[in-house]
Symmetry: C3
Subunit: 357 residues, 3 copies
């Protein structure tokens, strides 16, 4: 059974096919009105995320399917101590595909190993959020007309921003890509992303603390929020925060043909006045997210017809090497054996949260 | 884009058309089964209101459409600080029409200025609740066979009861209407409603503290709840509360042809024993609410086909006159400029909450 | 109007018909795809129960119907003090059938007396949960090929486990049934169940504290959870708990042809390793629950076409004998007259919670 847990689960060709499907849906929506008739999606949101949940629900309904689910853990059996594995097995009795949001890293992966239907990771803590990256890719493709040969600025919290890491991974597979990493030192891109992705794929990148300096060179600007909680020193936060707010003044420095993305929700890191700028693509990005989720649901349901495809990888597993990540699902899931595998970078990593063990 | 924020957004003719549509739906429900096929309604309830939310959802489903949404703010992105404007823009990517309930006055209006689909105000704090008034109008029309020439008693909390104020506004446009205002002095109808609506339209009205005295003269009795919180003096509340409870004894004083309305939920202001009285129309009123919401959804979706219609009024705006209403959306919404306009009564009012600035 | 409040509301023939319908749905699902077109189910969950709620919702959708509702009391009008009776009357305006979960015993019964559509009890406190019993019956029938002539072991909390009591009631109507009651003394089956059901129907039963001793003789093993809260003495709990955990070691003692049921969610009373045993039927039981709910919805909607059928029983009522059960709906429902009736065992019982008055 094929699932989507990390954006790396899909090849470049598969991502290109998803983008092509999404564009066909946009061009011919009525062609897809009955594609998921008699199919059901479960939206299992163990923590609230209205935008992502409603995007999945709208996607399924526009394909002619139905939706059941819950929007927070307090209305779920998890509050009675049910394991992720049991929830996945039971929900497989009710629906044809499920989208799971969970505060614990690796929880959707555990679900995918126990469900008999495809599982979509709709965000697992700070770990993965692959459908956001799908939205980002379609947006860049539609706004710029290509996915190659461009300079992409990533601005804000590059340390904890999982959408930033996933976008780097996905775009690093394309040719002619250059990144500009714009953040305060406290929130710089982690070394493992630089080594395992940028340097491994020989992707050129620049590091800067100045959004103004970077702006004139960018084809894409990906904004994220800087959260006060990330700073030890409040004064440092107050000193820095305004320099990472995008406003109409700063937009004057940018190319005429550029696009601004943001995973949303924003708080104040993009001034409302920028919304009227034709380069502001973040609301179109939300719309693109719906179309990519439609394409994804179609793909996974199609592949589910052949359940032998993509059996769970069992090669190279190392058991009982203890994962110490306090946010990993393996810390709480009943009778879940700690399991690791040597990853591409030669490091032994937990198969659930991908942290070193 | 046409929205429904206040009952005054519709002309009398438009209200009559909505009533006619609702009656046709009641007579021929199957005619409407596919009217909203492939259409989606979002029910965005930032505070719980089961009855209103389920009424909207039932309405949309009976028109063949689908529903997505949330039932309280804690499961929404608002808890992450997303603005009403951004929520409206994003939801416009997912649905064809939205119904918004919000504790802040003016929030649905802000949404309607940012959405690219019609917005229905499903209650904004103590401000407006126009679909309740639609239910009231259809109920009076169906129970009495007319909307003209009648005496309407309004009983209970006339000070804070927004449904009472809206009903007065809507019925004051009809001929031969007389109101009897039945309440303790503490909860009397505010002066501005008397001046701006009753006196302006030369509508006769009586003021009384006695439900018994008023009852024999009424064609319609509109009951509301008296809440203990409204009283400074608990003893005063205890002394008064029973005289505003409708029971079978008091019903004997009423005309044989009369109808009792209540916006529901009730607590104990109408005795359960009254439910069996054929004049008790409040549960039929709930049913009528569903039919009027169906008619409303149809009307707004029809008008949305011509998006030029009813552009947002931009005449007469006065900027940066500060609204001090602590419950107004303008106190919290990101980068929302305080804006006012001279209203019909010659007073400069906030365009969001309609309070004097 | 016919409702399902207790499993005893249905005759054995009716239960057999439901099982037959469920099996036909399993064999020919597409035959039922449009059975509930234009019908709506309300899932009114005044306390969370994801599995039960989603099972009902999946059931209605697979019949071609739609669902509205809420998943916890805080998003309902009940938090504003609305009575169960009023909620039932209003929801009757919106839907064709409703499933109610409520922490108060008797609440769904109150709803059924006030609704104008069928009501399904989806669990009322520790009182009844008849659709779980429907799932149990179909599971035993499918796993064993019969409902007669078998030894059924009931293990764990037999004192408070309402699903255990209902299963005993339902299976006691069949021939050749023997029960083995496996529990610590603290959680033994209550005397009234033994007297009113087992002894009344001359059903043989054994009592034991040892799961190991019982296992070799069982055709069906029904597991339930032992909760620490039930014990006065924590040490006693710790001493006992492991002996009621089903693991692969204990499974070796069981017959080759046996089935293990559990109402789920489990915490740790069945080891995850048992899931792979072909005799582990508890996830298939969850699937069966969906099919039985489909059969039930079909039956009640069919009977609702003849509203005269099964009027509310008004014979033998005794008024104003006070029910003192603190969990009974009659303790909180507005203007609900305390009412009792002499039950089959000759005891005067509250008609809502069935406790002695």
């Amino acid at each position: 059974m094929r699932s989507l847990i990390s954006i790396l689960d899909f090849t470049n060709d598969e991502l290109d096919q998803l983008i092509a499907t999404a564009k066909d849906i946009i061009a011919n929506p009525e062609k897809y009105w009955d594609c998921c008739k008699h199919k059901k999606l479960a939206t299992l949101f163990f923590e609230p995320s209205t935008r992502t949940r409603l995007s999945f629900e709208a996607a399924m309904i526009e394909l002619g399917g139905s939706v059941i689910g819950f929007s927070q853990a307090s209305s779920s059996s998890a509050s009675k101590g049910e394991s992720m594995a049991d929830t996945a097995k039971i929900l497989s009795c009710y629906v044809d595909i499920m989208a799971i949001r969970h505060p614990r890293e690796g929880a959707p992966y555990v679900a995918s190993r126990n469900a008999s239907v495809p599982v979509i990771n709709a965000g697992d803590g700070g770990h993965n959020h692959p459908t956001q990256t799908l939205a980002d890719l379609l947006t860049i493709s539609r706004e710029m007309g290509r996915l190659d040969d461009m300079t992409i600025g990533l601005c804000g919290d590059l340390k904890y921003g999982r959408t930033v890491h996933s976008l780097i991974e996905a775009m690093s597979r394309h040719t002619g890509i250059k990144f500009v990493l714009i953040s305060p030192a406290e929130l710089a891109l982690p070394d493992y992303v630089i080594q395992n992705t940028l340097e491994k794929h020989h992707i050129p990148y620049e590091v800067t603390t100045s959004l103004e300096d970077a702006l004139p060179h960018l084809d894409v600007l990906y904004m994220t929020r800087i959260q006060q909680e990330r700073f030890d020193d409040v004064e440092e936060y107050n000193r820095l925060k305004d320099s990472y707010v995008l406003n109409t003044e700063k937009m004057k420095l940018a190319k005429e043909k550029m696009c601004v993305l943001h995973p949303l929700p924003r708080v104040n890191e993009i001034s409302v006045a920028v919304d009227d700028d034709p380069r502001a693509a973040y609301f179109r990005q939300a719309l693109n997210g719906k179309y990519m989720r439609m394409a994804l649901i179609l793909k996974l349901l199609e592949e589910a017809k052949d359940p032998e495809k993509e059996a769970i990888r069992t090669d190279g597993l190392v058991y009982d090497r203890i994962c110490t990540n306090p946010k990993c699902i393996c810390q709480v899931e009943q009778e879940l054996r700690h399991t690791a595998r040597v990853s591409e970078d030669g490091v032994l990593r937990c198969i659930y949260c991908e942290q070193k063990v």
